[in-house]
């Protein structure tokens, strides 16, 4: 894969990748670092990409999620960020209450531990086993956190209906 083809594929994904990193890391600088590191690894590792251009989005997303998790591990703990600041950063459409806005409102109200599992599962596309291994917790804990998150979300959705 040449420079031009790599850049075309990268530009098609960069916005999405940046948002995923932002959601995982909750910090602009860290998200940007993760995206740069992922780009570098993808460039030097592109010989290992199987499946051609069609496989690129999933492949680079996996690299980005791994890089984001590396950064997360190296920082040990995320500094809690102000919800309004995070809302601006993630630019989620809260006002019109579309599904996307509603999801983020709900997800953001979960505690950090539950939110992290939900984000890695549904945005990062990690399996439950991978989440357990990445976060250094047991598979049972991941399932339990996910179930709790589902229950809370369901409660909030039902609460909003009334």
């Amino acid at each position: 894969m040449g420079e031009e083809e790599f850049l075309t594929l990268l530009h098609a994904e960069e916005g999405k990748l940046y948002r995923i990193a932002l959601a995982i890391l909750c910090n602009e600088q860290d998200a940007w670092d993760a995206l740069q590191q992922a780009t570098e690894r993808a460039w030097y590792g592109r010989g290992a990409l199987r499946g051609g251009a069609g496989a690129f989005p999933a492949w680079i997303k996996k690299i980005l999620v791994n890089q984001s998790l590396n950064i997360l591990r190296s920082k040990k703990r995320i500094t809690p960020i102000d919800p309004q600041e995070m809302r601006d950063l993630l630019d989620f459409p809260g006002e019109d209450m579309t599904d996307m806005g509603l999801v983020w409102e709900l997800v953001w109200k979960l505690g950090e531990e539950h939110r992290k599992v939900v984000i890695l599962r549904y945005l990062g596309g990690l399996s439950l086993k991978e989440i357990a291994s990445e976060l250094g917790i047991s598979l049972g804990t991941v399932k339990s956190r996910l179930n709790t998150a589902h229950s809370r979300l369901r409660e909030k959705i039902n609460g909003d209906d009334h």
């Binding site: 850049l7 530009h11 960069e14 030097y44 590792g45 549904y122």
Partner: protein, 121 residues
């Protein structure tokens, strides 16, 4: 619980993925990525060229060394020129060409097999 939970999962996943897909990287950062990739491509080209040059020189030295150690007549001819007693003429150009052609072919085919340092299934 099964189908309700699955619906919730699908809704969550779909909404979050749509949100991510609508993301746009600020223009300045996108340009920075361009420059970064261009720099890496340049470095890679330079590295490949250097590797090819060094490998070629090494191969050439080894061949000459093998030739001279195994054929003293050729060595003597090379340093003093052909004599009526030993009429062989060792010209360096055919040796260079006969080494360079297969080497370039090998280098080109090997270039496609390099870079397996990152493997994500």
């Amino acid at each position: 619980m099964g189908s309700e939970s699955r619906d919730l999962e699908l809704w969550l996943e779909g909404s979050m993925q749509r949100w991510a897909e609508q993301g746009q990287l600020p223009r300045g950062k996108s340009i920075q990525l361009d420059k970064m990739v261009a720099r890496m491509a340049q470095q890679e080209k330079r590295r490949r060229l250097m590797r090819a040059a060094f490998s070629f020189v090494a191969a050439f030295i080894v061949c000459i060394w093998l030739l001279f150690t195994n054929c003293p007549v050729a060595a003597a001819n090379y340093f003093s020129g052909p004599t009526p007693a030993s009429p062989f003429d060792l010209s360096i150009l055919p040796v260079l060409i006969s080494l360079a052609v297969p080497f370039i072919v090998w280098e080109k085919s090997a270039g496609h097999k390099i870079n397996d340092e990152v493997r994500y299934e």
